[in-house]
Each structure stands twice: as structure tokens, then as C-alpha cells.
Amino acid sequence: MFDAFFDVVVIGGGHAGCEAAAAAARCGAHTLLLTHRIETLGEMSCNPAIGGVGKGHLVREVDALDGLMGRAADAAGIHFKLLNRSKGPAVRGPRAQADRALYRQAIQALLRATEGLTIAAEAAEDLVTGAEGEVIGVVTATGQQIRAGAVVITSGTFLRGMIHIGETRIPAGRVSEAPSIGLSDTLRRLGLPLARLKTGTPPRLDGRSIDWAALEPQPGDDPPEPLSWMTERITNSQRPCAITATTPATHDLIRANLHRTAVYGGRIEGVGPRYCPSIEDKVVRFADRQRHQIFLEPEGLEDDTVYPNGISTSLPEALQAALIASIPGLERARILRPGYAIEYDHVDPRALTPALEVRTTPRLFLAGQINGTTGYEEAAAQGLLAGINAARRAGGAVPDRMLGRSDAYAGVMVDDLILQGVTEPYRMLTARSEFRLALRADNAGLRLTEKGIAWGVVGSDRAAAHRAFVAALEAAMARARTEGGSPAWYAAAGVTVNQDGRWRSALEALALPVMTRTDADRIFPWLRELPRRVRSELEAQALYAPYLERQAAELRALAREEQLAIPKGIDFALVPGLSAEMRQRLMQARPATLGSAGRIPGITPAALAALAVHLRRGEVRFT
């Protein structure tokens, strides 16, 4: 009855789908990637940038597990910037603006080079389920039946996608691409909880019609900082961006025509993200602002399209032209494609396990925007994890390749999604991590690559490079811990430290504000000989060590709390601060101590804290 057999079938060729397919194949699964069109694999349908603060952390984590995104962005990047350069390494976020065409090419080349991966230009229409409700295959639009050990759906905004431009509504997943209706019905039939979200995109401009001379140019970093750990050097020629801003005239125009936008006209029910608001939202919510900044980002070296970042809109097309004309430098700019708002179905991610498998439909995995997230990076990280676990499932093993909140931002994201669900498209922010100082973008490899090697998802080139780096780092750390001196010794070397008579290692001394790089180079000349990455890792560890030690103390205190007994007949409904989900999970598992409650899959630190407080309160007598 089946026309073909695969271990893993991935539906959707966006950022989540490409990573999922490549990761599953790297894990040794015989994998099929189904996409509407092969040419759009690796398409960046929104802004042409990858990375940033939080998002850059995710890219590095994907890269540390040998994913595609970082390498493709380095091959396609035409403007690199390390955000937060003046802040500490934990919050520095690498970002690249990519040439769209080069990015697609890079992704497609990486996919083609992936062994065990087949790509087919076929839309998936339906899933085939087995006797126990598990997924056993996929039906394509042309009626082919494909047997699958596991299926990953990464349908992005295609589930009942609806584009709004003013009063016009176009059913579509992306501009000029049909939405997936059949798949949406399938998910409904499987009983998955669906909800509606929205996002938006600005009009695209013809760069040749922009008055660049009137605008402030924004050069990228020189030298550019690559996104992938495997990239030595960026070879593309680089392009500047430019900055402009809206004017009071822009705001007047928007206010006068609010009723003609899809959102304020009441034609959209989905909830949009707070951190990526449309220009309409900005004008309404921040009425006193006289200007809103716009970044003009070139979309490619050979492409004159410019992405005006900051003015996503769903105004009618004619009004978009007037809006653009009210902006300095864009007075004569031509719109190549209007901006729009898009509404789409997503699945409530609380229906998923920590491996991103649907709890009630075994062998079905979901990743990316379908889970209520936004952003290429969030999608890619989920795709990677779903791909790895789908390969496990297809291979007859338990899908247990998980990252915890203290391992990775990807772990924070999955935990947030499956426990809290979403009320708006979920975006990664470093504020979401309680272990921010430990989860640096630049130590993603140290955090994850060894794990990835054990999981079989990391190739031999990266494994070798990683282990060489670790060996060099360990040698340098050992030396930095054993060399050092008394305050008098440092004073003789020209650096004044606290005269407390205490011996300080080089590692401790590097964290002192008085110790400049020049001082360090003079006192410990061997530092100069270290490879750049080893040196910066050493410095970062030195900088945060005192804080991380204290965090570790707090964690140990928490561990003591974990011994706290939970009374047998406890009513979790009486514990304030627990979500219904937490309550349900606790009631199912009936843990005996706070420690065992913490080991129930998916119980959040916040829920544990609430429970700990509650148990302590039990000792309080109000008489």
C-alpha cells in the first residue's frame, strides 16, 4: 500500500524543516524532506538577518550541534554585527544580514551534501495513523503514500495562512504560495489544540529609488565576527545599512487610516508579538513618540531589494506608498512588494513532550512556528532537536535527546513552550534564562558539542576541531590557575591589587577591573601566544567565575530544599502560583519529595519554587 519507506519524513522546508531533516539524516536516519518547492528551501521570508541577542545564542547552539544555520549565514552574510560589544560576553549577540539568494544556495548545498537525505517537491496533504493513534505515514498532494517511522511537521505560517493587506485577504502561507489546508484539518482531526497567531512584514523597497546620500550609513563590523564556529573568515564583500525614521506626518497618516488596517479594522483575531509590533501598533501604543527608527537592510549583493526594518504594516497598498513617501530618504522610494499581516494556525505547544513529540500522537513531532514561536533561529533550534528525536523514535529508541534550562537557550525555549504555552509568538530573549551568565553565545560549543558527539549528530570535522580546542583551553586554564602571586608580586609587575596578602592566580587577576589587557600581556606573556578563541574563553570564564560560584551556592541551597517532603494527601489545587498544567503533572506523578517533583519531566523551576514556599508555609501556624 505504501509507495515509499523512510525512517523520518520532514514536512516543510523552512528553517525548522531544513535543520530537522539534516539532523535526522546526520543521526543516521533515512530521511525525506517534503517541500512545496525546492527553490525556496532556505528562504528568508521576513527580514534578511540571522542572529542577535538571544537569537544569536540559539544560532551558536544550533551550530554547536553541527546544524546548518550558522554556516549558511556565514556563506551568505553581507553585513555582520556583534551586538552588545560593550557589554559582557554573556549577552553579546552575533548577527548577520544575509544575501537571500546566497543563503538559499548555501542551505541547499548543505542539504544536498547531507548523506541519507532525500528531498522531494511535494506537498503533504494528510497523515496516516496506526492502530494506536501513532503516525505511520504521510499522504502527499499527488496521492502518494509514504511510510515513516516518525514525522516532523514544520509548516511555519502555512496552516490556514491568511494574508491581510488593508481590506484585502489572500489565503497564503507566504506571498504567492498556497496555504496548507489539508494538514490543518489533519491536526484538527487528531485533536490537537489549535489557536491563531499573527505576524507581519513591511513593504520591500527598490534600493535604486532610495536617497542614500541623505541617510546615516551603518557599517558592519570590521573584521566581521562569523556565526559558525567552523568558519575561519568571512569572504563576501560587505554592505552598509542605513538608518532613517518615521515623522509626525507618517503618524498622522496612520492615525487617520487605522480603520483600514487589518488589525484595527477588526479583521484579525490572532495575537501579534509585543516585540515586533506593526507600525500601526507603535503609533497607537506610544502616541507621544515623534519618531520610530527604521533600519534599511539590503537584501543581497546582486539584488536591489531593501528591507525597511521597523515598519511592518497591513495598510492598503496605496496608503503604504504614502506612508513610505513621508519618511526622509524614502520620498521617491518605489515599493516592490507591499507589506502585510499574516494570520496562521499554531498548535498549543503544551501538547508536546520535552522531545517535541505530540503527547497524544506518538511518532509525530512539531517544530518551529507551528509551535507558536517566531524567528528563524527559534525555528532552527526546534527543528534540530525534533529531527534528532524523530531519528531516535524511528530507530526504535526512546526520544530522550533533551537540553535542560541550564544547558542551553534551546532548552529554555522548549521548557517554556511545553510548560507555559504561548500567548503571543514566542521569541528568545536572554532575560528568559535564569542561567544567563553561564549560557554565552561564545561557549555554545563547550556546552553542547560533546553532547552532540555522544548523540551522533556532530560530524567528525567538528568533533576533531572541538576536542583540539578543549585540550588547548584546559591547558591554558590549568596554567592560569597555577600561576600568580602575592599583592606585592603584582605591585612589582605594575598592577595594584588589594593589599590583603592573599595569593591570586592569573585567572583571578584577569577578572580585576584594574587589570588591563596590556598589563595581562606583560605580566603573563604566555597569554599572547594563546589562540584568539582560547584567550577570549579564558577571559570570559575569569570574568564570571565569582558570580557563577555564587549562583552555584544558590543552586546548592535549592538542592537542600529538594529534600523537603511532600505530604501524601496534598491538594495541589491549593498551591498558589501553579498553572493548571503543573498541577495536573504533579497530580499524575504524586512525588514524595520536592526533589522528585523536580525530576518529573517538565516541572518548571518556578513551579518548584511555588511548591517549596507552600510546603514551608505548611509549617507556619497562624495562631
Binding site: G54, R274, C276, K282, L543, L574, V575, G577, R617
Partner: protein, 438 residues
């Protein structure tokens, strides 16, 4: 809502005109209907015949009040039954309530439920507990202030300000390339320093609120036969301690509780300080010294007819009140150990009222009700000290992410008093204040 339904006698035990039984929990409506026939209108006193649900026996004619949750004291469905106050009637109704599946409440369980249902925060719950336990006017007023949320308001105000500061710090970290107001980062450090000063001022109250809540300890120290036990009895107005002419009569610490101008005072009579003659007395003297060390105030008692003894002189200082007894036998010296003594004759009663009012003044100075809400428990002090410590750390932190860590830690510390602040609350504040998003 799930859980057990509880009841308790809210009025005092014993025979009275009226006894009030209070019910709370999801089974309240069912129990009231079972006894009273049907549920009365909410929050209206209704006269009802109460019958045993199984035997149908008439128990009492009672006023029944029905408070559907969440608009009730506990936040749950609640009711009050105003019965005729005889032990037999109460016992009959209690038996009937147990028969409908209710159980007697544990001590403090109503307040605890109110707390768990977020009707009151932990500090208010503590205030209610203190209110019930209050012995003196000062304690009652302090407890009432806390029960009404004065401390909660103060700490929640600080939590809100810390949350706002963290939001700004996070915005500064997260959205570098957005159009954020200039000086955001520096403003956070300045505001955090100001907040820390307020916390330190609140902490620098010389434990006034805790002393008022716990009571002030005054230890009477002095040589044997200086009249310590007589003084204790005179201040207590009763024979609490054994008094004899024999030196060394008091072997252990004897304590009485006094109400001095609204401040509860524990007055401790101790063994006379001298070279002990036996092991038991030696232990008594050790205990006397220990109690004096714990005391908020030492009352150093001398006798006018003898030179000041070195053992007692050692305790004279700024935290001591110097009193000379037996001024009927000899005049009091002008100064002892640099302090002007209060003259006293327990024999004639001379100086006793002056001493009593002086003690009241000292008590008010140390533990009188302050103008501002004071912290009343060591756990408040520990948490606030930690929070202030993190804010000091923030001032010294060289990087914004370290300042954010300090703010997070300070919030966690205060959260231990009132409740925790989640990431979403901080993000709400970020996106509410700043226009983020290119």
C-alpha cells in the same frame, strides 16, 4: 476548588448568649443546606431551624450567614452559624456538621486558607496571627497595621520598583539597537542606590518592631540581697519570687510579664552575682549572666548601705538602668560607674513610681510603636538585608548583565517575604514602557 471543608467555633468556649460556628470550603453550601433546609441569600442574616441531616432532630434556631467565594474571608465558600451559646447546642450542631463530612479546623487554618487563596499575603497573615496573640495595646496596634497590609504595601512597593528597574536593565541588555532613551543604564544604578538607602533606613530601626512583637527583656542584676526579687514582686504587684533575708535565695531566673505603656516587658529576676557557695548557685549565676546578655535592658541594682560591687558594676553602661535600693538606710551616691542612679526604697515605696515610669520610657524608646510600619520578624530582616546587599553589589558591578543579576537576586530575596516575580512580569514591564521592535 477542591479540598476539605472545615469548621470551627469562632467565639469563645463555654456558656454564652451566642456562639458562632464558622465554615469554609467547597462543601459549605451542601452542609448549610443539609442543616438549614436550603441556602439563604448571600450575605444576609437569615433565621433558620437547624436539623440533624440524618435524624431530622431539631438542633437550634440560628442566624445563618452564607458567603459564596471568592468574596469571603478565606476566598472559599464560607458560612457562619450564630447559635444559642450552650455547650449542648454547640455539640449537637458540631456532630451534625461532622455527619455531613466536614472536619474541625486546625489552629489558624482559616487564615491559612485566606493566604493560600491570595486574599492576604504572608505579612498580613502574620499580622492576623499577631493580632490574635497581642497582649498589649502597642502590640495590638502594630499587628493591626500589619494585618491591614502596611508591611505588604511597603514590600510590594519595593518589589514593583525593583521589577521596573530590572525591566529597564533588561531592555538595555536585550534591545541595544532599538531607540531606547539615553542614560537608561546609569539611571538604573542611581535608582537602585536610592532604593537601597530606603531599605537600610527601614532596617536601621534597632529591632523596634521585632522587640514590640516579641516583648522586651529586662534583666535585674545585682549583688545578693540587693533586693532584686523584692523589686520584681513590687513591679509585678504580686509575690512572684521568693524573698528572704538570706543571701542567695534566688537560684534560678524568675520571670514575670508586664505591660509597660503598651509594650510587653519580660522582667527577669536573677541569682545575685557573687562567688558561688555551691554548684547550684554557680549555675544560677551563669544563667543570670546569660539572661543579662540577651536582655534589651539591664537593670543594675545596688544597695545604698553597701559599696557598689564589682560584679554588678561591670554591667553599668549605656544599655543599663542604674538603681540604688535601700535609700531609707543610707543616701544614694551621686554617680555609680558614671551613671546617675535612680534612688529607691522598696521598704518605704519611695522611688517605685519614678522607676516604673522610667522603665516605661525606656520600653517605649526601644520598642514603642513607630510612625512607619516596622518589620516584625527576623525572616523579614534577613530577606531585606540580603536584598540591600545585592543592591550594594549592583553599585559595584562593572557590567549591565551583572547589575541585572543583582536585581534578580534582590527580587528573589524580597520575593521570599511577599511572593515571587516571574520573567513574564518583567517582560510586560519592558514592552509596556519601551517601544521595542524594528
Amino acid at each position: 476548588m477542591t479540598g476539605e471543608t472545615i469548621f470551627a467555633l469562632a467565639s469563645g468556649a463555654g456558656r454564652a448568649a451566642v456562639a458562632v460556628l464558622r465554615l469554609s470550603g467547597p462543601g459549605t453550601a451542601m452542609a448549610v443546606a443539609a442543616l438549614a433546609g436550603r441556602l439563604p441569600a448571600p450575605r444576609l442574616a437569615s433565621l433558620r431551624r437547624l436539623r440533624h441531616p440524618e435524624t431530622g432532630e431539631l438542633l437550634d434556631r440560628a442566624l445563618v450567614l452564607w458567603f459564596p467565594g471568592p468574596a469571603s474571608y478565606t476566598g472559599e465558600d464560607s458560612a457562619e452559624l450564630h447559635l444559642h451559646g450552650s455547650p449542648a447546642v454547640i455539640a449537637g450542631v458540631v456532630e451534625a456538621l461532622v455527619a455531613t463530612g466536614l472536619r474541625p479546623a486546625e489552629p489558624g487554618e482559616f487564615t491559612r486558607r485566606a493566604f493560600l487563596y491570595d486574599k492576604i499575603d504572608l505579612t498580613a497573615a502574620e499580622g492576623i496571627a499577631d493580632l490574635i496573640a497581642a497582649e498589649t495595646e502597642g502590640q495590638r496596634r502594630q499587628a493591626l497595621r500589619q494585618a491591614e497590609g502596611a508591611l505588604a504595601d511597603l514590600y510590594e512597593g519595593w518589589t514593583r520598583r525593583l521589577t521596573a528597574l530590572l525591566a529597564r536593565q533588561e531592555a538595555f541588555i536585550e534591545f541595544e539597537d532599538e531607540d531606547l532613551p539615553a542614560g537608561l543604564d546609569a539611571a538604573v544604578a542611581t535608582s537602585a542606590a536610592a532604593l537601597r538607602s530606603e531599605m537600610l533606613a527601614h532596617l536601621a530601626d534597632a529591632r523596634r518592631g521585632e522587640r514590640l512583637r516579641e516583648g522586651l527583656l529586662v534583666a535585674i542584676l545585682g549583688a545578693p540581697n540587693a533586693g532584686k526579687s523584692s523589686l520584681l514582686n513590687a513591679l509585678a504587684g504580686r509575690e512572684a519570687a521568693i524573698v528572704s533575708a538570706r543571701a542567695g535565695t534566688t537560684r534560678d531566673v524568675v520571670e514575670v510579664r508586664l505591660d509597660l505603656a503598651g509594650v510587653p516587658v519580660t522582667l527577669a529576676d536573677t541569682a545575685g552575682l557573687r562567688e558561688a557557695t555551691d554548684e547550684i548557685e554557680a549555675e544560677g549565676i551563669r544563667r543570670a549572666r546569660r539572661r543579662a546578655e540577651e536582655a534589651d535592658l539591664v537593670l543594675a541594682l545596688f544597695a545604698a548601705d553597701r559599696p557598689p560591687d564589682a560584679g554588678t558594676l561591670g554591667w553599668v553602661g549605656p544599655e543599663a538602668l542604674v538603681v540604688v535600693n535601700k535609700v531609707d538606710l543610707a543616701p544614694a551616691p551621686a554617680a555609680i560607674g558614671g551613671s546617675a542612679p535612680l534612688p529607691l526604697s522598696l521598704h518605704t515605696g519611695e522611688g517605685l513610681e519614678a522607676l516604673r515610669s522610667r522603665l516605661a520610657e525606656e520600653a517605649i524608646a526601644r520598642a514603642g510603636l513607630a510612625a512607619e510600619a516596622s518589620l516584625t520578624r527576623p525572616r523579614h530582616r534577613a530577606a531585606l538585608t540580603e536584598a540591600a546587599g545585592w543592591l550594594a553589589e549592583l553599585g559595584a558591578a562593572p557590567l549591565p548583565e551583572l547589575r541585572a543579576e543583582a536585581l534578580r537576586a534582590a527580587l528573589r530575596a524580597i520575593g521570599r517575604i511577599t511572593g515571587r516575580v516571574g520573567v513574564e512580569v518583567v517582560l510586560d514591564a519592558v514592552f509596556g514602557e519601551f517601544c521595542i521592535g524594528k
